[in-house]
């Protein structure tokens, strides 16, 4: 069902990872993603995997939550793996059937790609599971604040992101409500051809857009009433402070990063 969507889902807890500074968490996630794509052999991939599993344990978020976040991307993983097996040439030829040939390099690339995507999703899930969306956008705002010298309105962008995230559950609820109302009038979303089903969505989408615009106006009005004037001169109720533990975590991942470079250098390259 629609309510199974897990975007920006927060898993309540008070582990070390939950308490970490969100800015550092974003930085570490970025470092980790670069790490995944720097891996050139299985040993370095294993090291990245160990870092991920250790982080999951530190976050105390149950593993099943991560499998849940992987479910929707399974088709993508399979698709990329299959494409890679058939289209990457080089290395030993393992199998050849007329115009298709499967090579060792193709298989390795397929496995690497699949593992990379899985690690990528899981690592970003750690970030969203352990950080409240508002903290996340706050942190992005702080991290992007140097862009202000190019006259980019970082605060406005961050505020837009916060609001967008905030309204995802509200709009999902709204969709369910409208769908129920139209079903009660005999609308049929489950049967019929593809075009029939696309047409059946019109009675849902129009009221949804109307109400989204209405909400936007109301929200803008409410923000005006509370004297919101944008980012200039705005202070924060919750100040972000860096602790020694934040630096320690950052250091550990930086060490891992160097480790992967070294492993690539000394243990040969597979892909």
């Amino acid at each position: 069902m629609i309510s199974d969507i897990t975007i920006g889902q927060y898993y309540k807890g008070d582990s070390f990872v939950h308490k970490m500074d969100p800015r550092i968490k974003i930085l570490i996630t970025v470092i980790f993603i670069v790490m995944i794509f720097m891996c050139k052999n299985f040993l370095s991939l294993l090291l990245a995997g160990i870092f991920l599993v250790a982080s999951i344990f530190a976050s105390r978020v149950p593993f099943r939550m991560f499998f849940k976040s992987l479910k929707p991307i399974v088709p993508i993983v399979i698709f990329t793996a299959v494409i890679n097996i058939f289209y990457i040439g080089g290395g030993k030829e393992l199998l050849s059937l007329g115009f298709v040939s499967i090579t060792s390099k193709g298989v390795f690339t397929a496995v690497f790609m699949a593992v990379r995507i899985v690690l990528l999703i899981m690592s970003s899930s750690i970030l969203t599971y352990t950080t409240v969306p508002t903290m996340l956008t706050d942190a992005i705002e702080r991290l992007l604040s140097p862009l202000k010298i190019f006259h980019i309105q970082v605060h406005t962008l961050a505020m837009m992101m916060t609001l967008a995230l905030r309204f995802i559950p509200t709009l999902i609820e709204e969709i369910e409500r409208i769908m129920n109302a139209q079903k009660a009038r005999g609308a049929d979303f489950e049967n019929g051809s593809l075009t029939d089903r696309a047409k059946a969505l019109v009675p849902v989408l129009i009221p949804l857009f109307v109400s989204a615009f209405r909400r936007a106006y109301e929200l803008a009005f409410a923000m005006n009433c509370r004297c919101y004037t944008g980012g200039a001169g705005r202070t924060r109720m919750k100040q972000m402070k860096l602790h020694i533990s934040d630096f320690a975590a950052l250091f550990v991942f930086a060490a891992g990063f160097v480790g992967i470079i070294l492993i690539n250098k000394f243990f040969g390259v597979v892909i």
């Binding site: 129920n180 109302a181 009660a184 009038r185 609308a187």
Partner: protein, 289 residues
Amino acid sequence: MSISILETKNLTHIYSKGTTSQVDAIRDVNLKIEKGELVGIIGHTGSGKSTLIQHFNGLLKGTSGTVLLDGKDIWEDKSKIRNVRFRVGICFQYPEYQLFEETVYKDIAFGPSNMKLSKDEIDRRVRNVIKFVGLDESYFEKSPFDLSGGEKRRVAIAGVMAMEPDVLILDEPCAGLDPKGRDTVLSLISQYRKSTGSTVLVVSHSMEDISKIATRVLVMNESKLAYYDTVDAVFSHSEELKSMGLNIPALTSLFLRLKEKGYNVNTNIYTLEKARDELLTLLKGGKSE
């Protein structure tokens, strides 16, 4: 005995069963609704009234128990559930947010055209139903988005009435309307019932509204059916109703307080006429113990 139009047997619905957020929305509801009645469903927020009505047209399926429409289980043939929705029409809370067509006419015709009726029949129904909601044919070519709040609400209700359901269910039809709009909607509902003879269920948390039009009252409290009886009988439990967090009509609470003060009066009073008669007998009989 004739078969009730709508009946539930041990109907139970549990949300998110087996997880930590498990909630019993309704528990063990047994009720029979007879043809032609106007049943008021009351209960405070979260008592399960909205969940209950969604079972009547198969939008929700009970975790256990059955819903019978004319003595037949509505889930007997899953592929025919749409026919149940045509026979049991639900108009949800704030129905004006379901309007989507370019014109009022087309929007009201949405339900009937889903029923695959002939063009003439659809036209007859749309023209018929617009009168029920106190509007006229000059509205047909207007955009539903240009109407006032009260008019939108009435067009949306007309959209459900146009399916000519055997049972019409309205969820909080008066929510957010001013007192005048509320009285208009209430009298439209009871007029509709009188002229079509159909069964009507009205969900509300205002006992005052319900007492004006209902023949029977169904009270939900903490996911359970608390009372289901005639208006008089239910209002004789006014103290219990009060403890369920329900707002009893101002007149009833006046008589409750008279009783507290030691006057010998009935407390199931909710209309002006009854209140007058009760006060007159009290005054004639002098001060009693």
